[in-house]
Symmetry: C2
Subunit: 192 residues, 2 copies
Amino acid sequence: MTKINDRKTEIITVAAKLFKEKGYSAVTMRDIAQAMDIKAASLYNHIKSKQEILVLIIVEIAEEFTQTMDEVVHSEESTIKKIEKIIQLHIDITLRDANALACLNNDWMHLSDTELAYFIKMREEYEENFRTIIKKGIADNEIKNLNLEVIIFSILSTLRTLYLWYGKKKSPDSKTLTSNMIQVLLNGIVIH
Amino acid sequence: MTKINDRKTEIITVAAKLFKEKGYSAVTMRDIAQAMDIKAASLYNHIKSKQEILVLIIVEIAEEFTQTMDEVVHSEESTIKKIEKIIQLHIDITLRDANALACLNNDWMHLSDTELAYFIKMREEYEENFRTIIKKGIADNEIKNLNLEVIIFSILSTLRTLYLWYGKKKSPDSKTLTSNMIQVLLNGIVIH
DNA sequence: AAATAAAACTAACAGTTGTTAGTTTGCTAT
DNA sequence: ATAGCAAACTAACAACTGTTAGTTTTATTT
């Protein structure tokens, strides 16, 4: 029972790493197998298809984002505190599972029918919740009355591509990252 | 002469659009041909290989970024003015050629040997130049003394993924985009 | 009208793809 | 020891890949 899961998990981990490097379509089942020192056919003792691997990588993380965002939206904190929690959410998941996050960002379009629709729904829900938070912040005079979409995508695009930066030589440690990120995204970089 | 170029340009444009949607590896020569209402073999009257298409899409734009960044670095303006020019550069290219930009961002790793090395060199040069600008800004007391890498990747990741947002229903017009983007990235979103 | 060249076509290739069927290996519990 | 079973293997498939060769169509120039 645990053995099956262990091996399956291993496939998913290895696949996620390869998908990050070359993208879903460029990675073959033989690539994944070779990285595990087995033959491609052996993978099918553990997984149903290449598609299933992608689904398992993406959906779990997407659900985690969706759920935490839902909790944040319905909490009774200040807008700034909410945004800080969202920043923290992205940093946490990036540090824990950068490869899966890369897949979610780059390979979601290779999900098929049902899962694709599910993913898109979650992503739209996530963005809409973010929009709600910022709108309330503007109404409450916590956030500057700038173009809503520009605010949303400035923050989200940075958070979503964190996986690209983390792990590089020059990337800061977790604590420095969090506090500096909050500073930069909320208060800007210019001295007045 | 112009006719050859026209058809070749058309291939590159169509390919860039498809590459943006599904990624380089998932797009076949038959896909590109079908989108142009011809057969795959006919493409080879105009281009040498699938690889060449990718190179033509990516390298030209990468060189434009590199060159303009070089001009900005060596100019005698304030740091803030320099950053504003870089923001403008990204917005301009995004509005002009979002598809090619998507390729550059997602498919650069499928370039082969020579071009891959060339691309990576340009990208590192670009980031290093950006680093130089921010460092000087901090030294001159124009920019807050926050973690250099966090500043760099907050701004760059937003600018680099602009292509994902532009064209959507809710995305603002060009002027609103530029001014709001400068506001958000430089001054932040919080009211103090 | 004939000649030339560009750009489309058909047919096919050799290699790669995800996946299946059937078989062998190696560990675990009786 | 042996039965049972998870997990590896080999061999093969049909479909698809980028690309080439050779041919026909289309458009332009003489």
